[in-house]
Amino acid sequence: MSRVITGRLDATIRTMGRWKPREVWCAVAGAVSLALAVGAASTVAVPVSSDLGLVAVLPYPFWIGVLLLNIAFIVALRGDAAGPARRLVMLWLIVALVLVLFGTAAFVTDVPRGEVAFRHLGVADALTNSQGINPRIDAYFNWPAFFALLATVLQATGLDPIAVALWAPVLNMGLWLAALGVLVRYLTSDPRRRWLVLWIFCLGNWQDQDYLSPQAFGFFLYLVVVALIIGPLAARPSEFRGFRRADLAAWWRGRTPADPRPAHRVSALAVTLLLVTVICASHQLTPFMVLIALTALTLTGRLWPSRLPLITAVILGLWLAFPASTFLAGHPPLLDAGIPAALEANVVDRLSGSAGHVIVVQVRIVLTLVLWALAVAGAVRDWRSGRLDLRVVLLAVTPLLLFPVQLYGGEMLIRVSLFALPFIAFQACSVLLPTGGSTRPSFRAAGVLVLTGFLLAVLTVTGRFGNAQYDVFTDGEIAAVAAVQRFAPPGSAIISAAHPTPWRSEAYLEHRYRTIDDLCRNDLATATCGPLVYDYARRNPAGAVVLLTRSSKASLVLQGASSAGGLAELEAWLSSQDGVELAFGNADARAYRVTP
């Protein structure tokens, strides 16, 4: 027996340096699929005309590339009796998937998608120019740490801010996957499961929170904190005997540290405290997710430094009480709490608009439900076989506690599903991989995995790029915004039709930025909205510029707030008023100067 084992070990060591034909083919297939997807995406014309978004206009070679990539990954994952393909091949295939799924928009256009990345560049620019922090400006200046980092990096490197924003999704996914890769190593020793978790995490990531933002940075730090608390800072619980006080006390005292080396635990604790502080200074929501995760793991006896949740709560409380107090004084955090209000803002309000837009929203819901259903099935399977990891279940479920607490602009469900996703992906793997630990999947199981992966990719591309009609900007719109920022006098108001406007990346503090959508509180009929906008513009002492872009108008139409005819009528009315003159125009935008 020992000779057989030694012989196998020798054979493994002999072949370790050599590439197997399967590995070579998988690597080549990854390169081909990447080339197909990039080539296909680069042929897409902007603006995107379909209300289904990019999914409707991506040519078929893109989908062939996605399918081929899934086949290559599953073949590499299946590997042979010794395990999956070598690490380099698996890493390369994941890099290819990240580029295909998260770099797609960057291959379509060289303008960053969405308004918010532009705004975040503007905050960093404002910090650079003012060289100080005024918390009265807005919420960003109450949680400024990410913008301070961004300002420093942009100024010191000399990189083009627009290019940084364009490639931020790929960079952020890389950071998230690096953290998740380490985290998963503490949860399982099965290499196939480790790789598949990363794959499913990419395929289920429709939330589109990886743009240049504090939440993307915060999520990276959150994943590192979780890796540390289930790694070097973890505790092994003793046997649970019951809820009597004596039993609970014995259970609590019986915990042992998972890492027996005190120096390792102390250094991991120091790193965790630094990260918690940075998270508290960077983003409103993420520290609460950290606190919930820490508390859940402590209460179940899975975290060794049991005072860590308390320390985190103190740091968070201090941040809210001092640096962020200006914002919180005017915005009570629990003002709009409650499950009915949360459901209204996060689900009902989003299920409106054009037929295509409603389909996109439904696809996002279906994708989330499919992943959660797979995770539940995986959890049941693990529970039956006595292998259910309570930590994974807790980390997947506890983010839901924040859902009814705050509406968060109707985005709480998106954030909650993102924070749960790594652990949902982990639990889903229990049902996607064979039961017997590191068993090689059969041909049939591999086929199911390929189909599941491809289906998830189609749903994610649909959900993620479903707003492409209004969040992918044209060069004409960028030129219009640049022109407006050039000729709008300091102190003037700049009024856009709606929020997807690529503005505020410069002169963040020089103008008052408003949208017609906000001014008219969603009643965009010309008779009521026109006078409101006109009066607001004329009352501003430095005047105003009304900017009407293709994308902002498309957003209002797609989401059912107005119609193309209604917006044309509103524009015609505004342009005929006294003191209003056309100052800039091209195929995708018009800007009207309004004198006070």
């Binding site: 301070a148 590192v224 990260l275």
Partner: protein
């Protein structure tokens, strides 16, 4: 008893040299590489070497996260104190790296 290891000395010297080069200025791609090294990677590496982490994967992640975390803390503090400039951040991160290398060197000498 042994002396300071070569990687520690190299890290400290690289931090000093790259800080100076970044402050003087280089063509864009080189400036970006030098600035990222001196602001994030070198401090991250120097701080990670102060921890007893032996797992290379966790170590690599710590380099990134400690570099980013420390730079974020330094930049934010400078903004609150109204003393921010990117040059001051470069100098501070360079000094942080050197100090971490000195601490590591003292441990190496003592061991």
């Amino acid at each position: 008893m042994s002396g300071v290891s070569r990687p520690t000395v190299a890290l400290g010297l690289a931090a000093v040299a790259l800080s100076l080069v970044t402050l003087v200025g280089l063509p864009t791609p080189l400036q970006a590489a030098a600035a990222i090294a001196v602001l994030i990677l070198l401090p991250g590496q120097a701080l990670t070497r102060l921890t007893p982490v032996t797992d290379p994967t966790l170590g690599a992640l710590l380099v990134l996260v400690l570099g980013l975390g420390a730079l974020t803390a330094v930049s934010t503090a400078m903004f609150y104190l109204a003393v921010w400039s990117w040059q001051a951040c470069v100098v501070t991160m360079g000094v942080t790296t050197v100090l971490a290398c000195v601490a590591r060197g003292r441990k190496e000498v003592a061991s």
